[in-house]
């Protein structure tokens, strides 16, 4: 610690800190534009010039490290003159078009100009004009307003991982632009809107629709991935106008992924279901709530009575709130069924009954940055978990060795230490190779179950290169002091998910490392806590669809997109005598298979709780009133329970549901444990034929984001194609650019594209999209022929 003095105030400051950090920590504000605590120091705006005793000229506080005994004056005549002079330079070419600028009212330049600007301009020459750039569907540009602080440039380079923006040209001709007419395609691109201290970069979906002071600011929690980013939702006239990050250093820091930021458009979608509807004689009719609920209760009673309650299945979206899940489970059990599940994209349930607890991240989110060795298994990390990937990117920059075992080679924009890309069926083999290699390095006898793997074994079809990579990864992991093994969505959806879990467990045990799951959805942990999983003799999500039920209850789920096998899900729902859907949307599919549509609130119109992937309990309130006749799902379930005369449905509030479940605990849940007992490790042999690699593209992943129109116009939401490597294309006799018929359970006709990141004998076809639903399961062997 050093002693310094700022504006006469003696301070103790950590060595190596910059003056501006020391000042801000002490509550002394120094005006600035280019400085941002999460970005590298540019010192280019010069707004933070301050006077330092004995220094001959004013120094930028953002780039001047504290030194012992330093005396700093942030408001002295010299400092203020320097700051005002800089402000004059900044404003001379600025258009001063605040009345028509979307940044008005939340503009750093505007705010600081009040304090440091002059009321009259000395600059009498013609002002500079800069042409606008097309950065894509999300970020609008008014580049004449740009003050060249380069925050956006540094963000794309340092946080998002790819320098998609740069400063071209020199002097006052300097312009921020993307690389030769490219758009900014980062899944984190929206953050540059927040970072821009002027109105040069504004939100394309939001701009011109409201002023910041006209809107209410409400806290909320992101309903998308397992991170549970904290949100500020801005609302006006009971409509969500936009979403901003609520800073939480433990979770999203000051960032949001584009999905979290722009998915609100789906809240105001024209597809919103706002009135209860029932299908009578093949015709849909809007009805009153009591009619619809009676209808639903009657159907439930009828099936339970005539076919047995086991014929009733409840499919819950993993994005539903904890309270909704709790009541859904209660309702299912109340009517005598044990068939409930929220793990809709999961294919392997063999770990059920063997789990020691609720699967979770295995550590706190913030710990990710402190790891020095990480093995990620089966994850489209950057698109599935944009901000967790960002944390690992920062860890890698600090020297952490990050390795990936996966079936795709999408650029994670993280400096990977090693990467093995194998066919889906080979994922367990590859992981087993790593386990074996680590055991060998540790001098521990390998699990006999893994004997078949690798050299001399029979199970492995792993190439020499992949075996070598396994050795490399093992050596890296063993050398670390803080290692972790992370299983991604792909590993959780894998047909041998339990085996992968067991192998990861074994690997972590050998290493003394942590292992965990990257939670796919907002309530991937909450679903277990709420008991939205089948009891021992109940049916899980896959079983309910494989052996079709007579009646399905859907809570927020769109099974055609949200289930592991959309085609099978559709078939099961279509054959059912009754489908009761609690949903925020009326999709064409739901209108086809459902009999009752009950309009329930999306996260913005209900109170509720998400438990994030680290087990953090995050409750939130409704930010707007439910649209029209929409009602919070927990209330709908409660009333349904009442109508069915079930016990224990007399809750007054969602908090009551939560508190009863969690015993009043409101920080972190207990019972988190990734271990599974006595798992037989039967390493499968390689699949014969062509295998499907199915990713769930970022903007197709849940019902809300699928209806966010601006996100649907981004590169990340492009129509799925059949991506095949050159060798496999040749083997199949197909050329890139051909239309191909891909078949598994069903058929899909897709454009074949060359992608050398796809392993041999594999075709990558995205799931969760209308064009590929007909194909069938996410993991399958396929036929491919020219259409």
């Amino acid at each position: 610690m050093l002693e310094i003095e700022i504006d006469g105030k003696p301070l103790q400051v950590e060595e190596g800190k910059m003056l501006i950090e020391a000042a801000h920590a002490a509550g002394i504000y120094i005006p600035h534009f280019c400085y941002h605590k999460k970005l590298s120091i540019a010192a280019n705006c010069r707004m933070c010039l301050v006077e330092i005793e004995k220094a001959p000229k004013p120094m930028p506080a953002c780039a001047t490290p504290v030194a012992k005994g330093m005396k700093v004056f942030t408001h002295s005549a010299l400092a203020v003159k320097a700051q005002k002079d800089v402000m004059e330079f900044l404003l001379m070419n600025h258009p001063l078009d605040c009345p028509i600028c979307d940044q008005g009212g939340e503009c750093q330049l505007q705010d600081l100009a009040v304090g440091y600007g002059s009321s009259a301009a000395r600059f009498q020459e013609e002002k500079r004009v800069v042409s606008n750039k097309n950065l894509g569907a999300l970020v609008a540009t008014d580049m004449t307003r740009c003050i060249n602080c380069t925050r956006c440039v540094r963000f794309t380079q340092e946080i998002a991982g790819l320098m998609e923006l740069g400063q071209a040209f020199r002097g006052d001709r300097a312009e921020i632009m993307s690389f030769v007419e490219k758009t900014v395609d980062s899944e984190l691109s929206g953050n540059i809107i927040d970072l821009c201290p002027v109105g040069a970069l504004t939100s394309k979906p939001f701009r011109f629709s409201a002023r910041t002071w006209e809107m209410a600011r409400r806290k909320s929690v992101s309903p998308h991935d397992g991170l549970g980013s904290n949100l500020i939702v801005q609302t006006q006239h009971d409509r969500v106008k936009r979403v901003l990050p609520l800073e939480n250093e433990q979770l999203n820091e000051c960032w949001l992924s584009d999905k979290e930021r722009f998915s609100y458009e789906g809240l105001n979608s024209t597809e919103r279901l706002t009135r209860p509807m029932v299908k009578q004689g093949g015709k849909w009719q809007e009805v009153d709530w009591n009619v619809a609920l009676d209808y639903a209760a009657h159907a439930l009673r009828d099936v339970a009575k005539n076919h047995g309650a086991a014929e009733i299945g409840m499919l819950v979206s993993p994005h539903a709130t904890l309270e909704e899940m709790t009541l859904a489970a209660k309702l299912t059990h109340g009517i005598g069924s044990k068939n409930i599940d929220f793990r809709l994209r999961q294919a392997d349930f063999s770990a059920d009954g063997k789990r020691k607890g609720t699967p979770w991240l295995g550590m706190k989110v913030a710990e990710l940055n402190t790891l020095d060795r990480v093995l990620v298994v089966g994850s489209f990390l950057r698109k599935d978990h944009p901000l967790l990937a960002q944390r690992l990117r920062q860890a890698a920059k600090k020297g952490a060795q990050i390795s990936l075992v996966h079936s795709a080679q999408d650029d994670l924009l993280i400096k990977l230490f090693a990467q093995a890309t194998v066919a889906p069926s080979q994922l367990p083999t590859q992981l087993a190779e790593v386990v074996k290699a680590v055991a060998a390095l540790k001098g521990v006898a390998a699990d006999p179950a893994l004997a078949k793997v690798g050299a001399g074994g029979t199970a492995s079809a792993g190439s020499a290169a992949n075996q070598e990579t396994a050795q490399k990864i093992a050596a890296s992991l063993v050398a670390g002091s803080k290692a972790a093994v992370l299983l991604g969505n792909f590993a959780q959806q894998h047909p041998q998910a339990a085996l992968l879990n067991a192998l990861a467990q074994q690997l972590a045990g050998l290493l003394g490392a942590k292992f965990g799951f990257l939670g796919e959805a907002a309530n991937s942990v909450g679903g277990y806590v709420a008991g939205a999983i089948p009891a021992a003799d109940g049916m899980n999500a896959a079983a309910m669809l494989a052996a079709p039920r007579k009646l399905y209850l859907l809570l927020g789920a769109e099974p055609e997109f949200d289930c592991a096998d959309g085609m099978r899900a559709m078939a099961a729902l279509q054959q059912a005598s009754s489908v009761i859907a609690l949903s925020s949307y009326k999709s064409a599919a739901a209108l086809d298979y459902a009999d009752v549509l009950l309009p329930v609130s999306p996260f913005s119109e209900t109170s509720g709780t998400f438990i994030n992937t680290e087990g953090r309990v995050q409750s939130f309130y409704a930010v707007v009133k439910p649209q029209d006749e929409t009602r919070p799902a927990w209330k709908v379930l409660r009333v349904l329970g009442n109508i069915l005369e079930l016990d224990g449905f007399n809750y007054e509030s969602s908090e009551q549901v939560r508190d009863e479940l969690l015993g009043g605990k409101t920080d972190f849940v207990t019972g988190l444990d990734n271990a599974i007992d006595a798992m037989a490790k039967e390493i499968p042999t390689a699949a014969a034929g062509i295998e499907r690699i199915a990713d769930v593209p970022i903007h197709f992943a849940d019902a809300l984001v699928r209806r966010a129109s601006s996100l649907q116009a981004t590169a990340d939401a492009s129509v799925p194609s059949a991506r095949i490597n050159a060798a496999t294309l040749a083997k199949l006799g197909v050329a890139a650019g051909d239309m191909v018929k891909v078949g598994a359970g069903g058929l899909a006709t897709l454009l074949a594209r060359l992608d050398d990141g796809v392993p041999d004998n594999c075709v990558r076809v995205a799931a969760a999209h209308a064009s590929t639903v007909g194909l069938g399961p996410m993991f399958a062997t396929l036929t491919v022929e020219r259409a």
């Binding site: 120091i41 010192a43 004059e88 006052d172 300097a174």
Partner: protein, 454 residues
């Protein structure tokens, strides 16, 4: 240009004259010629006398060789800032000679490239760098090519590469061609440019001696500084210092341009009276009266005739007169010059060359130019002169690098010494110097009329 005359030459001794018809006919720059005039003896002496790194640095400190690029920072002291024991260090030669009026490094590179190579090897040895880069200005591509040839010769002779002359240290040297941006002559922008990035200065600290090229400790010296090293090691630092005057060691090249009879490069000892240099350059042409001199390249403040005629050519004397010796580029202006027009041209240069990174320079240089342009074109307002002074003052000392100061200093000095011309311009919407006098004095005009190639 060429080396026209010298007093006690150390750098240019034995140089051949350039062939003005075709550079390919130049003689005397090759390795054998350089060796014949004592080249690489300094390096051999360092090796045979087993001089330690510290001894080499001490010798350079003794010589009081001050950086010839313009700032005049003592070279030996700069070398001593390099951390000992760092595994990877660099030495970089700054041949990005872009300062208007300066053309000395061009002649060194053209007529004596091996002196730079030898200087860099010795510098590399002294600071413990095993790799060097010579960053060569983009508009002298043929010199880049020549330097590559010289490097080949040096490599073949064992002066470069692994185990230099069997002495047990490695040194490799590479030429890097710039693209003509003035800002890349700023040492940290130069490093960025070598790294393949946009040439923009870095904020200092950290200084290059700690975090330089590719993040490694780096020393950057001017071409002339490095070319002076062989003499210092060969003849001793004291002998070099004795050539000049205390605190201003050695001889220096001066590029004299403008309204003199014999423009060109001259090598004179530090401390030589300005009048002597002016005389060597043939005096002011056509017997006209000297009006002003920019003594150290375009960013140095202008000095009116009476002030400069009292100066001697060394860092201290010129600093005392209110300007800088800078790179030794002496721009001579006679009575036919309109100072407003001259400043307009200079300001346009800095406006063009500002990198655009930091606010005061990015915005201020354009503002200065636009106001001066207005005054020159009869649209000036009385308050403009104070505005110029003030805007220039608001740029100075507020920027990341020295380009801001470089743009502001001429403005402030022109306004200070020639305020009446600016006032006349604003009041009468024309020059104080009559148009026909200006026209008669224009070198460009007379040369063009004579059918000469510019």
């Amino acid at each position: 240009m060429a080396i026209l005359e010298a007093i006690n030459p150390t750098l240019t001794a034995g140089w051949h004259q350039p062939d003005l018809r075709d550079m390919n006919r130049d003689t005397g720059w090759r390795l054998k010629d350089y060796e014949a005039r004592g080249g690489y003896q300094a390096l051999k002496k360092v090796i045979s006398d087993k001089l330690s790194q510290d001894q080499v640095i001490a010798e350079v400190k003794t010589s009081v060789l001050r950086g010839r690029g313009g700032a005049g920072f003592p070279t030996g002291l700069k070398w001593s800032f390099m951390p000992k024991g760092a595994p990877e260090k660099y030495i970089v030669c700054n041949t990005d000679e872009g300062e208007p009026g300066t053309f000395k490094d061009r002649d060194i590179m053209r007529l004596d490239p091996h002196s730079v190579i030898e200087g860099m090897i010795i510098a590399g040895y002294a600071v413990g760098a095993t790799r060097g880069y010579n960053y060569i200005h983009g508009e002298v591509y043929e010199l880049y090519q020549r330097f590559e040839e010289a490097l080949d010769e040096a490599r073949a002779a064992g002066y470069l590469g692994k185990n230099v002359l069997g002495a047990g240290f490695d040194f490799d040297l590479f030429a890097h061609q710039g693209y003509g941006a003035y800002i890349c002559g700023e040492e940290t922008a130069l490093l960025e440019s070598i790294e393949g990035k946009k040439g923009q200065p870095r904020y200092k600290p950290p200084f290059p001696a700690n975090v330089g090229l590719y993040g490694k400790p780096t020393t950057i010296n001017n071409t002339e500084s490095l070319a002076s090293i062989p003499y210092i090691l060969r003849s001793g630092g004291q002998s070099f210092l004795d050539l000049g005057k205390p605190n201003n060691g050695g001889t220096k090249l001066f590029s004299v341009s403008g309204h003199v009879n014999k423009p060109g490069n001259f090598e004179v000892p530090m401390g030589t009276p300005f009048a002597t240099l002016l005389e060597m350059a043939g005096g002011v042409r056509a017997g006209r009266k000297l009006k002003a001199v920019i003594p150290g390249g375009s960013s140095a403040p202008v000095l009116p005739a009476d002030l400069i005629m009292d100066c001697t050519l060394d860092y201290d004397s010129i600093a005392k007169a209110g300007s800088m010796l800078g790179s030794g580029a002496v721009i001579v202006m006679d009575e036919t010059v309109c100072m407003v027009q001259a400043l307009e041209r200079l300001s346009w240069f800095y406006y063009e060359e500002s990198c655009g990174q930091c606010t005061p320079c990015r915005e201020g240089t354009g503002w200065l130019y636009k106001v001066i342009h207005r005054i020159e074109h009869g649209l000036g307002r009385p308050e403009d002169i104070d505005l110029l002074n003030d805007v220039a003052g608001n740029i100075m000392g507020r920027t990341i690098c020295a380009l801001g100061d470089a743009a502001a200093l001429p403005v402030r000095s022109f306004v200070k010494h020639f305020r009446s011309e600016f006032e006349y311009h604003i009041e009468h919407k024309k020059c104080l110097v009559p148009r026909d006098v200006q026209k008669a004095g224009s070198t460009f005009h007379t040369r063009l009329m004579a059918g000469a190639l510019c």
